[in-house]
Amino acid sequence: MKLYDLLRTAWYSIRAYKFRIFLTMIGIIIGIASVSAILAIGEGVKKEATSSMEKSNLNKIIVEYHSGFESDEVTIRPFEKSDINEIKKIPGVQNAKEDDEEELFGVSNFEEVYYFNRHSSTELKKYDEKDKTRKVFLGRNINIIEGKSDKRVIFLSYRVAEELFKEPEKALGKAVKMKGELFEVIGIGEELNMEDFEISLGAMEEMQQDISIVPAKAIKEKDKTEDYIQKISVFLEPGVDKDEVIGEVKEKLYELHPDVKGEYEEFNLQELIDSMQKIISSITLFVAFAAGISLLVGGIGVMNIMYVSVTERKREIGIRRAIGAKPRNIMLQFLVEAIFITVIGGIIGIILGYIIAVIAGQFMPIKPVMTVSNFLGASSISVMTGLIFGIVPASKASKLDPIKAIYK
């Protein structure tokens, strides 16, 4: 029998039992819909996380300087303009420049802060009027006029204030040192409540509380005037051994700055992206697998209806055998019918799942993504379901004795 005729034959039977086939299909639809919705959301999370990181070139590696706990390091200049030219000469380095990217994953730079002999490091963000104002423990937020100016004021996070002054309330009105400049503390943020981290949605906002803020121009201008380089981005030629080249870059830096006591460290974006994607993928897969259990229930529904169908259509099977169907033809007919049910259910399920994911996306900070591989994956799961749960009834049908089937 030709494939087209086989499909046609299966289709006629399905059409003849529309309603009960539809009922059976619901199980498959729910199963596939939940799996594909979860895959789409997972893919969306992955893409969101990746794209916020991938704004920068993947061949770009940032080299930073970590001073350790030496408070006098503020006088040390870990990078010089001339370093950049030296680094460019290293084989495998395509380009190198001062890293002026303000934010990475929406989080600001780390900065060392000093108060006499005490020291702390804080994530530093420039004032942006679009940002939410912080909850204040003492003092006030930076206002808009200061915010746009180069006034040396700072809104400290509670943790930093505590580390510098032991009692955070003492920080207000004091001057702290950052990049060799003094900043007046005009406000202290509310204490970070660690318990709140458990509420995941609140966590991002809470973490913002551990960021200190300075007026927009307070630091940039300083950078320009003093030529102070905080980080260098090194762009590697494609295909080179990253570790090796970066090793050479670091060696060169130590050579150029023999007096530094801290360490040069690289920040490899690619590794972070890779491991993050891996984590998201495995979480997604696990949840999708859990959702797949509903597919198992749907599959058993298909198996059940196919058994009913074989019993009910014994005579048809007998007639078909009498007029020339081989056991194989009968087997294929019932198998294809089962696969039809799961594939049609699967396609509806994929569409439904995507719709669910898009609706869910309205309430989440991510945009669900239906990838080709997830689409193909969900489709082949539907085919497999039909195959697995259809094969036993189909083989039962093919083994019927024609004479008994006709005169049942």
Binding site: M1, K2, D5, A16, Y17, R321, A322, I323, G324, I403
Partner: protein, 229 residues
């Protein structure tokens, strides 16, 4: 003289039950020439339907040989049997046995689909030809339940003919029909025989003997000289 269409040699069949073996056919020998119209007659339980099913390779037998056009088909496996039925035999059943979920056209198409020999156009031509022969071409888009018993049996005959088989096997073809319709159907089957088709029919209706060229009588699994009806 060429060999007969069918040679049955010492065909034996028994049913095995817990109570012991129960013989149905006790060593039957039968030759059938091409072009014959044979009726197998006998009472219920005489084994006539079993014999017909053996002739159609639908049922198995325990002993003996079945030779069809000189070829020994006794030991065919299921696949070969299916092929054989498709190529050589057309079945007509008492209860018509059309497939309810398919249209008339699709019902007649089935045997052609199982051998994928003809193209779609050829199939169309053959189906049209057979449907016209039984006078029901205009019903091709109907469903079996929309037709009368007589019409359904005509469709079943068209289905039996569409593969151009050597042999038509009819199991009580008029058993479910009123006498007037029965006559129409028998006339149609007679016409097929007149055109040269070999027909073997099981019946217990003596009146049908006027259509046949030869009658054999079964009694308790054996051929009998007397007319056992």
């Amino acid at each position: 003289m060429s060999s007969p269409l069918i040679e049955l040699r010492n065909i034996k069949k028994k049913y095995t039950t817990k109570a012991g073996d129960f013989p149905v056919l006790k060593g039957l020998n039968l030759d059938i020439e091409e072009g014959e119209f044979i009726s197998i007659m006998g009472k219920s339980g005489s084994g006539k339907t079993t014999l017909l099913n053996i002739l159609g390779l639908l049922d198995k037998f325990n002993e003996g040989e079945y030779i069809f056009r000189g070829e020994d088909i006794t030991n065919f496996d299921e696949n070969k049997k299916s092929d054989f039925r498709n190529r050589n035999i057309g079945f007509i059943f008492q209860q018509f046995h059309l497939i309810e979920s398919l249209t008339i056209y699709q019902n007649i198409e089935i045997p052609l689909l199982y051998r994928s020999k003809e193209s779609k156009e050829e199939r169309k031509r053959k189906i049209k030809e057979k449907l016209s022969q039984v006078g029901l071409f205009e019903k091709r888009y109907s469903r079996p339940f929309e037709l009368s018993g007589g019409q359904q049996q005509r469709i079943a005959i068209a289905r039996a003919l569409v593969t151009e088989p050597y042999l038509i096997l009819a199991d009580e073809p008029t058993g479910a029909l009123d006498s007037e319709t029965s006559e129409d159907i028998m006339e149609l089957i007679k016409e097929l025989n007149d055109d040269g088709k070999t027909i073997i029919m099981v019946t217990h209706d003596k009146d049908l003997r006027r259509y046949t060229t030869r009658d054999v009588f079964l009694k308790d699994g054996e051929f009998s000289e007397e007319e056992t009806i």
